[in-house]
């Protein structure tokens, strides 16, 4: 038993030490301490304090980076805590008043928005751009070669297109030699904002999908009933399922697809062009979207993501989406208001600069960041 105790003790000590190191930020992913340029923030206020937020896990790495950069810039005056617990849980904690702000992939649903409106109002605004890609694992087809349309993808997940050599796929890819193999359709098994955006897109491009399935964090995938669907937990679960199942198709956040090296498919946009999520195509989509986005204090539920997917524009990437921050308009503590304002104003201006954006995310164009900056003026 003695050896056992020593072993266990040693493990515990190691874990505690690692924990402490992480906690104190020594081992934390080098948060741009290299770019120690003189971007000293001009602060008129001298408030000291902490704000707490929680919500979308997609937002988490970027929020942590912003929080630690901001902590550095304010010399420890303001700390921002963000817990990655999921959009739904974040919204619910926010409603119960447990946290100061919520991070969320989709904006508030209509009835919850109305509930807040009755109680002093809220603001919600995009803070970062995220994109979703369609990925596949056909052994003899390279990445960025397979061409698909939203309609064909929808029919795959409906179980109507069952083989890769289906004429409807071949027609789009005359130069590829597609095998007669069953399509395995991989999807998220946990409720997620990624699924919400992806299914909103499928609903928009195919009426059949809208009627039979719809769009939500989790849907009932028709392809599962045929035995050709696979559910993966989280982006990593989907990635593993795609890698392990030849002839599969799936969807993941773009950054993840590149990290793991999944093969990406080109998607036909509304203007009949095949596009990938590049700076140009995202930019084009966002420009088209700026015209339809509401103000921060308005209801977003009818616009995002159902109206924002598949925007017009020759270069526009169809699966472009945002993550949101949700704030109340009224806080009891004036210091909290000042800190929230200071932090999010920084996030929407300096925070969008290249050196403050974590690889895999895309910054907001100034006209979209403006929505949040305008909204923050309502805070009191």
């Amino acid at each position: 038993m003695k050896t056992g105790k020593i072993l266990i003790l040693a493990t515990v000590v190691i874990i505690v030490v690692i924990g402490l190191l992480l906690f104190s930020g020594l081992l934390a992913p080098a948060t741009t301490s290299v770019t120690e340029t003189k971007t000293e923030i001009k602060t008129t206020s001298v408030y000291i304090g902490t704000i707490n937020g929680a919500g979308a896990s997609f937002l988490n790495p970027q929020m942590q980076a912003w929080a630690s950069k901001f902590y550095e810039l304010t010399k420890g005056r303001i700390s921002v805590n963000y817990q990655s617990i999921g959009s739904g849980a974040g919204q619910s904690n926010f409603r119960e008043g447990l946290i100061d702000f919520a991070g969320s992939d989709p904006p508030l649903k209509k009835d919850i928005y109305n509930e807040f409106q009755a109680k002093g109002g809220i603001i919600q605004f995009p803070v970062i751009v995220g994109t979703v890609v369609v990925v596949h694992n056909i052994p003899n087809v390279e990445s960025e070669k397979l061409k698909l349309t939203g309609e064909v993808v929808a029919r795959m997940y409906l179980g109507e297109i069952m083989y890769w050599d289906d004429p409807r796929i071949k027609e789009l890819n005359p130069e590829l030699n597609l095998p007669h193999e069953k399509i395995i359709a991989v999807h998220r098994s946990d409720g997620s904002g990624t699924t919400r955006v992806f299914t909103a897109y499928l609903s928009k491009v195919l009426e059949d999908w809208k009627e039979k399935v719809g769009s939500d964090f989790t849907v009932q995938w028709p392809v599962d009933q045929l035995g050709n669907g696979v559910g993966g937990k989280g982006n990593e679960g989907v990635a593993a399922a795609i890698k392990q199942n030849q002839y599969s198709i799936g969807y993941v956040e773009t950054a993840y697809a590149y990290q793991v090296g999944l093969k990406i498919a080109l998607i036909k946009n509304r203007d009949e062009q095949y596009v990938l999520p590049t700076d140009k195509s995202i930019r084009s989509a966002l420009t088209a979207l700026t015209k339809i986005l509401p103000k921060a204090h308005e209801d977003w539920s009818s616009i995002f993501p159902d109206e924002t997917v598949d925007p017009p524009g020759l270069d526009s990437y169809p699966l472009t989406s945002f993550s949101f921050i949700i704030l109340k308009q009224e806080y009891k503590d004036p210091v909290k208001v000042a800190i929230l304002k200071e932090f999010f104003e920084w996030v929407l201006t300096e925070g969008q600069k290249k050196e403050n954006i974590v690889p895999g995310y895309d910054p907001l164009p100034p006209e979209v960041a403006e929505i949040g900056l305008e909204g923050l003026k309502l805070l009191r």
Binding site: M1, I8, S189, A240, Q244
Partner: protein, 299 residues
């Protein structure tokens, strides 16, 4: 006298606290899940629709998945756990014994997400290529193996669970085994029993501990969440063979809870699943206790 009294008060206090917590959990399970049972009644248990968009929920596939994976797990783990216990207390040389035991205990205490990742990236492909595909190709006419397997499915989850619960069950069995009075062993050898016969006698002597260990392990297999969620396939269909992808109640809860608040009935539905899991656990424990008693009286 005084210390005696303090001891008694403390004891009652702790017992009371524990009981309150247990009762509190049961009450909150039942009250939180009541809307789903009021709305759907037994349909919630016997339907296989899980469609949040339409707010309709049924957990039959997950319930079956839980039962199937834990059955696979316990049938694989039983012989392994007993053999490991005997091996580590009877056969292995004395000086390696404590090392072996602490490794096994360490395995029992590894976070399940580590098993999950290992299961997903290592175990699943191995099982798929070297066990499930051959079984399906040659014995596919047996309904159990009739589905063409993908790497993640009910069978993979069952095997992973078995691996996870072996050290746990075996450490309970081992403790009981080493606690058997030495006289018994000496007596066995003295009447000329072989090693195998001695071990059999000893195992007979600790039957109830073996049952207890296995039932606890079964409980753990049923409740296991993260690891299973990673390898079970996460498909809500009624399984037709061992190689079908499926779901378990606890992995369903883990998968769906983060965004459940966004729906009207999903939180009650997930609590409903938890209630059913709790009831199954209760039944298993009662059956276990009954068996243990029966064995004890006989032996």
């Amino acid at each position: 006298m005084r210390s005696e009294k303090i001891f008694q008060i403390l004891l009652f206090f702790f017992i009371f606290t524990t009981l309150t917590i247990v009762v509190g959990i049961v009450v909150s399970l039942v009250t939180t899940s009541s809307p789903i049972f009021i709305k759907y009644g037994l349909d919630f248990v016997f339907s296989s629709v899980w469609n949040p968009v339409k707010e309709s929920y049924g957990i039959l596939p997950a319930l079956l998945g839980t039962l199937i994976t834990s059955t696979i797990a316990i049938s694989i783990a039983t012989p392994l756990a007993i053999s490991l216990a005997v091996f580590s207390s009877e056969i292995i040389p004395q000086r390696f014994r404590s090392l072996m035991n602490s490794i096994s205990d360490l395995m029992a205490s590894l976070p399940s997400v580590i098993y999950g990742l290992w299961g997903l990236y290592v175990l699943a492909p191995i099982l798929h290529n070297y066990l499930m595909l051959p079984l399906h190709n040659y014995l596919g006419f047996i309904p159990l193996f009739s589905t063409k397997p993908t790497p993640t499915n009910l069978f993979t989850a069952g095997v992973l669970l078995a691996i996870m619960i072996v050290p746990f069950a075996s450490s309970i069995i081992r403790e009981a085994y080493t606690a058997v009075p030495y006289n018994l062993k000496e007596a066995a050898y003295s009447i000329g029993m072989t090693k195998w016969e001695t071990v059999r006698t000893m195992l007979g002597y600790i039957k109830s501990a073996i049952f207890a260990g296995l039932f606890l392990a079964l409980g753990r297999a049923m409740g296991e969440t993260m690891a299973v969620a990673m390898v079970v396939g996460n498909i809500l269909n009624i399984p037709k063979s061992l190689f079908d992808m499926g779901y378990t109640i606890s992995s369903l809860i883990a998968n769906q809870f983060p965004n459940a608040e966004a729906y009207e009935y999903m939180v009650p539905a997930l609590y409903g699943g938890a209630t059913i899991l709790f009831l199954i656990g209760l039944v298993i424990n009662l059956v276990g206790l009954y068996f243990i008693k029966k064995v004890m009286i006989k032996g």
